[in-house]
């Protein structure tokens, strides 16, 4: 398995080349049909499931998440996603939406972190509850402008830490996030790679996940996507819902701030 992954990447690298995105007919065709796919996005099925989970008593404490504070006060979901990551005084740290949901599942419903972090990512047979929940919460910020926290000292620190993580080169391929996503007009095979250091392209980092991935037909969260970037860089995996990932999300979201969030995406 491991050998296959390495061979796959080596095969992909020669294709990592400059491409003029604006005139690439393949990318234009993808964009045209992306709009068709977005119009009816199966992610909405998972949003509905997440809403049900939010309202239904669960966990050892048989409590619902309706008292979970996503930053706008207990139970306020509308618009909350677009204002995360943000600083939460009760835990004295910056949290992204999924980290906050996990926190609420622990504090309100009585789940353990170990339990939730054991297999936190979706596959063909199982969508973990926090993934459906984050899809629901994200869907409740459709049409809202992205306004992550950027005033509290810990929010500023998170931005700077996230930026450092983004540019940190290491591992057997001497990769960083920026190797793929810090340069204009790159692609892997037929997929254009957005440059997340540019405000307009940074939106692509925030817009896609949580989202429906056509490969496998599952909803994945931004936690999964960033974890997978670490895997592709041959880095040790970051801890689920950790401060490192909240910091990286803060960097990406602040870069995209002010732009309108469209809700869970649909991705290749």
């Amino acid at each position: 398995m491991r050998v296959a992954l390495v061979v796959g990447l080596v095969a992909a690298v020669p294709w990592l080349q400059a491409a003029a995105q604006s005139v690439d007919p393949t990318a234009a065709e993808f964009d045209k049909f992306r709009a068709v796919l977005e119009k009816d996005n199966p992610a909405e099925l998972f949003e509905a499931k997440g809403e049900h989970l939010w309202r239904t008593p669960g966990g050892p404490k048989k409590a619902s998440l309706e008292k979970c504070d996503l930053g706008l006060g207990p139970g306020m979901v509308k618009g909350a996603y677009a204002q995360m990551p943000r600083y939460f005084a009760d835990v004295d740290r910056v949290m992204d939406a999924e980290a906050r949901i996990v926190h609420c599942m622990i504090s309100l419903q009585g789940f353990s972190y170990a339990e939730l972090a054991k297999a936190p990512f979706s596959n063909e047979v199982r969508t973990p509850d926090p993934v459906s929940l984050v899809a629901y919460v994200a869907g409740q910020s459709r049409g809202e402008k992205l306004a992550p926290g950027r005033s509290h000292p810990k929010e500023l620190a998170a931005y700077n830490n996230g930026k450092a993580v983004f540019f940190y080169r290491a591992g057997s391929f001497d990769f960083s996030c920026a190797s793929c996503h810090g340069v204009d007009n790159q692609r892997i095979r037929t997929q254009p790679l957005p440059n997340f250091t540019k405000p307009d392209q940074a939106l692509a980092a925030v817009q896609g996940w949580p989202g429906y991935r056509m490969t496998g037909g599952v909803v994945h969260s931004l936690q999964w996507r960033l974890n997978d970037c670490f895997r592709q860089q041959r880095f040790p995996r970051p801890e689920y819902a950790s401060e490192t990932l909240s910091a990286l999300m803060t960097y990406l979201t602040v870069n995209a701030s002010g732009q309108v969030y469209k809700g869970p995406g649909i991705k290749r």
Binding site: T26, E29, F30, K49, H52, R187, G208, T215, G216, R268
Partner: protein, 155 residues
């Protein structure tokens, strides 16, 4: 003048409530189609599937619009829009020629539906998408080539 009104179903999570209503026969559909055509669905070529459906004599038509990507971003989900401008269209059948079982389905629009359908299909390798339309007992066909690509990392 167009009056656009929109309604969104609030998902009801009471699993089985509606299903049991259906089970009681209250909602059972009246089917105009013959039973699900096993022979056509299990055919390994488009022509065999068309024979099983009795539409093998379809003639080429320019009155069938097929909107599908020339290059699909992911063969697992290829969106297809079909509109038939053949007067009196009653059914639309879709075949993905290079799939192991080409016949993907038929849509009966004879009971008050407009001759239009949107569906999303799996296409294993680059393939023509063939559409056969039935109107007035005759059959008409058109096709569009869809290329399937290999993509990048996480999408």
């Amino acid at each position: 003048m167009h009056d656009t009104r929109r309604t969104v179903l609030k998902a009801i999570w009471a699993i089985g409530v509606l299903a049991s209503a259906a089970g009681a026969g209250l909602l059972s559909p009246v089917r105009a189609f013959a039973a699900w055509n096993k022979g056509a669905f299990e055919a390994k070529s488009t022509i065999d599937a068309m024979k099983a459906l009795g539409v093998a004599n379809a003639e080429d038509s320019k009155a069938i619009e097929i909107r599908a990507p020339e290059i699909a971003e992911n063969g697992a989900v290829v969106p297809i829009d079909i509109t038939s401008n053949v007067p009196g269209t009653t059914a639309i059948a879709v075949f993905i020629e290079k799939n192991p079982f080409p016949y993907a389905g038929s849509f009966d629009v004879s009971q008050g539906a407009v001759p239009y359908v949107h569906l999303r299909v799996k296409i294993g390798e680059s393939s023509p998408v063939r559409v056969v339309v039935t109107a007035g007992g005759k059959h008409y066909m058109s096709a569009k080539e869809v290329k399937v690509t290999i993509g990048g990392c996480g999408g």
